[in-house]
């Protein structure tokens, strides 16, 4: 289990990480989502002990990273954003070196062979890392993270720069790893996190702005429902007619669909079904309805709303 409590990291006046807290249970794949520069890598670097926090605690299976760093680090396999590769070594030599510095007690040759096979690097073990493609370098980075079968895997944007087939392969691999390890997986790509993770923590401007299960994220961050209605009639008349309905919070024009006809987004309170009232009011005012769809916010919309809302606050000082 990984527990992050009130984590703070300041660089001068800038708060790169601001009171971040979350918990990852054993066997869970946590998606750490946020736009570039949100504080994902800084948080991960603190969790792994690469940099120290200005405040707060990180506990990896009862070992606190600052108080008991050796024990905590033994439990983590870390693949940073740029894999830490000694490019003048062969894949085999590099993994042997990483095996040694991680002070792993498993049988060396057998374990390295196993990791090479898992990451499909067996045929490339004698090649110099500098001669490998980006995708294979990323695999070598993942292989070193897997050495010693650490209970916690921390992967910082592992699919950046890979081609679509490599991305798909990597995602399948990570999903498989989630069965044996606790995984924290960071990305700025929503669909990727959605495809792999059980739970998502959204971070922006150094703050956690959402923490929910993947399928509950959009409803967790929206206060109400969203009704999409295509109505014929003058925009101001339609809006003024709808305004009187109880439970409506906001009416906005999504787009013009035809001459004198628009698609409206009507945000309303979660527990009130406004469809009957909308129909009655529009019928009374002779404003024909061409379509009406009740739907929550898509995950993408929810994510954009979250990150744009916080970004609008500007950089924190």
């Amino acid at each position: 289990m990984v527990e992050v409590k009130n984590l703070v990291k300041t660089y001068g006046d800038i708060r790169a990480v601001d009171n971040v807290s979350f918990k990852v249970e054993d066997g869970e794949i946590l998606g750490f989502l946020g736009p570039n520069g949100a504080g994902k890598s800084t948080t991960m670097n603190i969790i792994t002990g690469y940099i120290s926090s200005s405040g707060g605690t990180v506990t990896i299976n009862d070992a606190e990273i600052l108080r008991d760093p050796k024990e905590a680090k033994k439990q983590i396999g870390y693949l940073p954003e740029i894999p830490p590769l000694y490019t003048d070594m062969t894949v085999q030599k590099y993994l042997e070196f990483m095996f040694a510095i991680k002070k792993i007690k498993l049988p060396k040759a057998e374990h390295i062979k196993e990791v090479l096979s898992l990451t499909k690097l067996t045929d490339h073990k004698k090649r110099l890392i500098k001669n490998l493609s980006k995708g294979y370098k990323q695999r070598v980075g993942l292989a070193q993270a897997l050495l010693g079968n650490p209970p916690v895997l921390i992967l910082d944007e592992p699919t950046v720069g890979l081609d679509p087939s490599q991305i798909r392969e990597f995602r399948t691999l990570i999903k498989g790893l989630g069965k044996k390890h606790t995984v924290i997986f960071s990305s700025h790509i929503l669909s990727e996190v959605q495809a792999i993770c059980d739970r998502i923590v959204v971070i922006n401007n150094g703050e956690v702005v959402a923490d929910a299960k993947t399928d509950e994220l959009s409803s967790a961050i929206t206060s109400g429902g969203n009704l999409a209605v295509e109505i014929e009639g003058n925009v101001s008349s339609v809006v003024s007619a709808l305004k009187g309905i109880t439970g409506i919070q906001k009416i906005s024009v999504n787009r013009k669909t035809a001459e004198d006809r628009c698609l409206y987004n009507i945000e309303h309170k979660k527990d009130i079904d406004i469809r009957r009232a909308v129909f009655a009011v529009l019928a009374k005012n002779n404003m024909p309805i061409f379509s009406m769809n009740e739907g929550g916010m898509s995950l993408e919309e929810a994510y954009l709303k979250l990150t744009s809302k916080s970004t609008a606050k500007g950089g924190k000082k």
């Binding site: 002990g49 690469y50 024990e71 680090k73 830490p84 070196f97 040694a100």
Partner: protein, 236 residues
Amino acid sequence: MTAILKKELGSFFTSAVGYVVMAVYFFFGGLFFYYYCLLNASKDMATLFSNMFMITVLIIPIITMKSLSEEKKQRTDQALLTSPLGLGEIVIGKFLGSLLMFVCCLVIYLLFAVTLCFFPDGAPDWSVFIGNLAGTILFGAAMISIDIFISSLTESMIISAIVGMCAGLAIFFIDTIANLVSIDWISTAITSISFVKHYETYTSGIFSLSDTVFFLSVVALFNFLTLRVLEKRRWS
């Protein structure tokens, strides 16, 4: 620590650095040996060692230039600092790796000494030879710790090498600097940290505890400072 040491030593010989350093050291060693010993029919190796002092000063920054600067630049320090290794193990591993590389260069002196033995009455004074060798190793160790410290301050190995060479030259000419200072106590203070002065005792084949302690203190001080730089980087 052993893993870091092996990796450091291995990296000298998987790149050209190790071979180039040894070739340059052997070349100048051979040149001075030919000139001072063979050409003058002398078995005095102390002059050879003294002349190699400058080469040592210039060659050690080449050995240490990649040590920590390249780790930082390539972000491979992330692998080291997120492993269960202590910072002390990393610094000592790096230091011993570079020291062993330097000791590999010194092997040439054994060859020179053996060569002299083939001449009639040519066997060198072994106590002087061993004293010089021990002095060179201690002086080299002190320079390596200083240059690794310099390497920890930058991401550029070129800057690390240039600053290391400048520091070496400043140390080499510190006696001249002391002579230029007219205030006695400052001049004495500068002379007391002169590497050349502390090295001189060994050239006569005398083992001096105080000079050994001096060089070992420099090693301990700069390795400690390197450790503090790594520690500070994590907290800043």
